[in-house]
Symmetry: C2
Subunit: 321 residues, 2 copies
Amino acid sequence: MASDDRGRDKTPPRILCIGMPVRDLIFRVPVVPARGHKEYASAFIEVAGGNSPNAAVAIARLGGRALLTGPIGGAHAASNAIIADQFKGEGLDTSGLVVVDDVVTPISSVLIDPSGERTIATFRDPKLWTVRLPPPDILLADCAAVLIESRCAPFGTEMCAEARRRGLPVVVDGDRMMSLREGLWQVASHIVFSSEALRATAGVDDDVAALRKVATLTSAFLGVTSGARGVDWLDGHGEPHHMPAFPVHTVDTLGAGDVFHGAFTLAVAESQPLEQGLRFASAAAALKCTRFGGAFGSPQRSEVADFLTSGVVGTPACPSR
Amino acid sequence: MASDDRGRDKTPPRILCIGMPVRDLIFRVPVVPARGHKEYASAFIEVAGGNSPNAAVAIARLGGRALLTGPIGGAHAASNAIIADQFKGEGLDTSGLVVVDDVVTPISSVLIDPSGERTIATFRDPKLWTVRLPPPDILLADCAAVLIESRCAPFGTEMCAEARRRGLPVVVDGDRMMSLREGLWQVASHIVFSSEALRATAGVDDDVAALRKVATLTSAFLGVTSGARGVDWLDGHGEPHHMPAFPVHTVDTLGAGDVFHGAFTLAVAESQPLEQGLRFASAAAALKCTRFGGAFGSPQRSEVADFLTSGVVGTPACPSR
C-alpha cells in the first residue's frame, strides 16, 4: 500500500465503488398503500441512488474521493444525464461507469412513510450483469480501498481479487443473499451485511449466530447492521460485539445502510481503528436518517465530528430536500 | 347537437378529455412489498397514463377521436416528450395540453402483482390546478361529448358547463371523493364512479345505497364500477340495476376503470342505448385486464365486437407489453 499511503499524505483517499446506479423515485406517503389501493404522495423527488453510489456520495461528503464503476442502461439517455449530473454535483468521478446498450437503468419506487421507514420495489434488467468493467490499471490507480455491493460479484469479483493482490482492503456490502460458493468470501477483507441479507445467506434467524455460521467461509472481518438496533460484529477471536445505533429523530432511512458502508470503507482506507470506524459509520448513518432525500441527506465530515463530540444533531450544512 | 350529428355521419365522434396526464412507472412484482421491505420486480415499463388520458387511448383504439386537455409539468422536458410521443402514437390530439412551468408532471408508482391487482402511489403537484385551459371555442369545436375526471373540477367545470349549454353530453369520471357542493353535480349528464370514490363521497359503505344518496344532488345518470364485481346504476326512476363483469383471465387491472369510462363516453357520443353502452364499456375494460401495460393494453373496436359476439378473448391486435 506504499503508493496509496503516499497519496494519502497529500490528498484524501480515493475509493473505488463497484455498484449499480439506480434511479430512485422517492414518494413521501401518509401510509404505504395496501395491496389494490391508491395513496396520494405529498412530495416526490427523483434522485440517483443504488448501494455503492449512495456510499460514494457519503464518502465524498465525508472528505474522501470516490470513483464509481458499474453498468448503467443506455435506453434512456435523458434519465442517465440526470443521474450523472447529480453524482458529478457531489464531486464523484463517474468515468468508470459503463453504458449497456438497449437496457433501462435500474429503477426503484421508494415510499417513505411518516416514521421514515422506506418500502422499495426495484427493477434491474438481467442484461446489466453482462457489463465489462474498465481494466484494473485504470480503476485501481491511486485507490486506497474498494467497496463492492454483493450483487455485483459476477462482474466485480476479479477486480476485487486484483485489488487484494495490490494490498488494498476490499469492503463488501452484503445487501442481498450471497451464495455460499461466492468468490467474494475469499477476496473480501471486510464484509458488512444488512440483517435481512445476512439471515437469508446463513439461513439463520439470529444475527450473531448467522455471523458465526458464515465466519467458516471467510477470513474477512464480519459485521451486520440492523437499522435502529445498531451493529454487531465478530472480533479477531470470533467473539461477538454490539454497538447500539445513535438515537435520532428519523425522517428517512433510505440509503442509511449505504452511508454506513461508505463511511466505514473511508475509515478503513484512513486506517482508523476498527471500533472507531464503526462508530464513525454509525454516526454518519444516524445523521442521514434525520434528513429526507436518500443518500443526498448524507452529512458532511464536520457534522459527524460535531455529533460524535456533542451527541447533538446540528443544522444540516446541506439543506434537506 | 345538430352540427356534431352531421360530423359523425362522415367522421368518428370527437371527444374532449379533460384530465391530468401522469407518468406511470409500472413494476411487475412477485408480491407487493410489506412496509419496510424490498421486492425485486421482474419487469418495468414507463408509460403515459392518468384517468382521462387512459380513457382517451381507449376512445382512439375503439374508433373515436380524442382531444386531450389539462396541465402537464414543465420541469422535465424529456419526460414530457416521452408522454407526448406515446399519446401521439395512439393518434390522440394533444394540442389542448398546457404546460405549467417549474412543476413536475404527475407521477405514479404502480405495482402489478401476479393476480393483476395494481397498488399505486401518486404525486400531483398542487400547482397543477392553477392551469388555465384554452378557450371553449377551440376545445369544444367539432366535439360530440366531454369526459372529465372529477379531480379536474377546479379548472374544468366551466368548460363542462359551456359544453352542456352547447347541448353536449358531459361524462364525469368520479375517481376521487367529490365534494357535495361540487359544480360537477349540476353540469354532468352522466357520472360513473369507482366504488371506492363513491363510498367516500356518500359516506356509505354500500354501492347502491350510495348511488341513491348522491342521486339527490344531481339529475345526471349515475353508475358505479367495482372491478370484477361489475357495474351498478340507477335507471330513470331511480331503480338500481346490476351488470356483472365479463369473466376473463386478469393480468393487469391498471387503467381498466379508465377504459370503461372512455368506452362508455364513446357509446354516449354515438347515441348507443344506455345498457348497450354499459355492456360495450364492460367488454372493453375486461379485454384490457387481459393485457399488461395499463391503458396501452386497451382493445381495438373489432376485438370488442368479436368478444361481445363470441365471449372469447381473441389474439390482441396490439401485442401486450
